[in-house]
């Protein structure tokens, strides 16, 4: 473990010396790992409401996977600075076999001159609802399969970035004590959507750029400042942290120039919409515990303002919400049920619902066994023609704090 830590520290060039158990002023290394087995049974029905009952296709698959492995490095610098890095490996990552992925999720420097005010600069998860800042901290969550937009396995289904501000670069935040509560606030700014970031295609030419004539850097956001992400969250939190609630708001643009993000089936309908769609995300969250009962809820509404879509009467708005209710039967065993649903309308109305039941059993302070049963249902309405996708998952796994 120490050797791994040293290699990572040398690679990052930032954090020396590294210690597993941190002393003040030294870099601490810790992490989390979630390894899973899951079985998936899918049923796809074309023309569900047709007199003949539609056409059905069924499939079953199972897999073992290292769902996610995160390495965190943290270093307090002086009295007011703090640096933090999160490296993430996903899905049986193997570079030589081109499986999974390795990514830098967060890398920032925090300045806290006083408890009521902090400034974070670098690549960071911005404050949005309850889960966004901890969406990849699986050891903190009872779930194996996170609520829709937060679940990396569903990234292609939900296009997470439509619902969530995934990364920001400057965040001013703090908590102001007032009686029995804290008032939380956070304001941030970041790049435009990741789909704007310039990159080169196989032909060596820049892809998805606003103006190829001026492109000479890849991996940067070429948009003007008014197209950046602006957002914030205002919240209230019980002083002993048994309850928190808040509202969140962001403004940015959705890159409808980038057709590579969507399956070819959308090309026809998207072609006249190509451009930059102004997007506002509105979120509300509420979570906490009363005795042994824990609850968690979020709503996300995404509103678009895009002339070409309005001209053609195409609605781009999206909705997602979820709620979880659980009970700690003992210090170790937590059982929960959750419901999530949402809708988006593009060329077809898509409605999805997910019901889950799960258990988290703490084997020790650092190891939690998890199980989750999930029923995911997605209906696509094309007028009177309805297609339905139904997937049942059974997940078993371990979450480990390293």
């Amino acid at each position: 473990m120490r050797r791994l830590a040293l290699v990572i520290a040398l690679a990052s060039g930032l954090f020396l010396p590294v210690t597993g158990s941190a002393q003040d002023g030294e870099t601490s290394l810790f992490g989390s790992l979630q390894t899973v087995f899951f079985n998936q049974k899918s049923r796809l029905t074309y023309g569900k409401l047709q007199p003949w009952g539609g056409t059905e296709y069924r499939e079953e698959r199972s897999t073992f996977a290292v769902q996610q492995f995160d390495i965190f490095l943290q270093k307090p610098i002086g009295e007011s600075f703090n640096a933090f890095v999160d490296l993430e490996y996903q899905l049986n990552y193997a570079s030589d076999r081109r499986w999974g992925s390795l990514s830098l999720q967060e890398a920032w420097l925090n300045y806290t001159p006083m408890d009521e005010l902090s400034l974070k600069v670098g690549m960071l998860y911005p404050a949005f609802n309850n889960l966004n800042e901890i969406k990849n901290r699986l050891a903190l969550l009872p779930y194996i399969f996170r609520p829709g937009p937060y679940e990396r396995l569903l990234r292609d289904v939900f296009l997470s970035e439509d619902y969530l501000p995934e990364q920001a670069f400057i965040q001013l935040y703090g908590a102001i004590p007032h009686g029995d509560v804290f008032w939380d606030y956070a304001f941030y700014v970041g790049n435009a959507s990741a789909s704007y970031i310039s990159r080169r295609g196989e032909d060596g030419l820049p892809e998805n750029d606003l103006n190829r004539n001026f492109e000479f850097l890849t991996g940067v956001d070429p948009t003007e400042f008014n197209m950046k992400l602006f957002g914030g969250r205002l919240g209230i939190r019980a002083r002993e942290e048994s309850f928190k609630a808040g509202v969140s708001l962001t403004h940015d643009y959705d890159n409808l120039r980038d057709t590579t993000r969507f399956p070819p089936i959308y090309d026809g309908i998207r072609t006249p919409l190509i451009g930059d769609a102004a997007r506002v995300r509105i979120g509300a969250d509420c979570s906490g515990s009363i005795g042994d009962v824990r609850f968690e809820s979020e709503v996300i509404r995404v509103l678009y303002d895009h002339g070409p879509a309005e001209d053609r009467d195409i609605e781009l708005d999206q909705l997602f919400y979820y709620t979880m209710l659980g009970y700690s039967f003992t210090d170790r065993l937590f059982l929960y049920g959750s419901f999530q649903a949402g809708r988006d309308i593009f060329d077809v109305t898509s409605r999805h619902r997910t019901i889950t039941a799960g258990a988290a059993y703490r084997l020790s302070d650092d190891i939690t066994a998890k199980a989750q049963y999930i029923v995911y249902q997605n209906e696509l309405e094309h007028g009177s023609h309805v297609d339905e996708l139904m997937i049942r998952f059974v997940f078993l796994g371990f979450s480990i704090v390293l």
């Binding site: 941190a22 003040d24 601490s28 810790f30 989390s32 965190f72 943290q74 307090p76 009295e79 007011s80 703090n82 933090f84 967060e106 920032w108 925090n110 806290t112 001159p113 006083m114 408890d115 800042e133 901890i134 901290r137 050891a139 903190l140 908590a175 004590p177 804290f182 002083r239 002993e240 942290e241 048994s242 700690s328 210090d331 302070d365 704090v401």
Partner: protein
Amino acid sequence: MNQLFRISALLAFLAVGVFQAQAQTVVIVNASVPSSTFSVEEVMDVYTLNKTHWDNGARVTVFDLKEGQAKRAFYEYIGMTEDDLQRIWLRKQFTGRARPPHSLSNETELVERVGKTPGGIGYASESAVRGKKNVRIIARLKGAP
């Protein structure tokens, strides 16, 4: 003989009670910490890692005990369970907001570490603190044995 045994048992029971009554738990800070008294809410803010800096801008370093009577009394004093605090600490650690407290095995070591760490805070039995330099008592636990 039987009566003698009963009297001895009663005396032993009373002695334990008196000893426990004297094991007052106190909250201590390093002598460099500017404030002299703390409310229970302020101590809770420190242990929930919501207060990470003292009034003079120095970083707070929190010490905790792995187990024992002083720990039970202290957690009762701030109105938190071990599970509550573990969950809060893990969230703050994993989001990079704060480091979890240093968890120590015995009170003597804790008092020593608080005394040697500028900005340090911890708790222990008053008897373990008596006569120690560089530490200051900022709260006595009301209602604690």
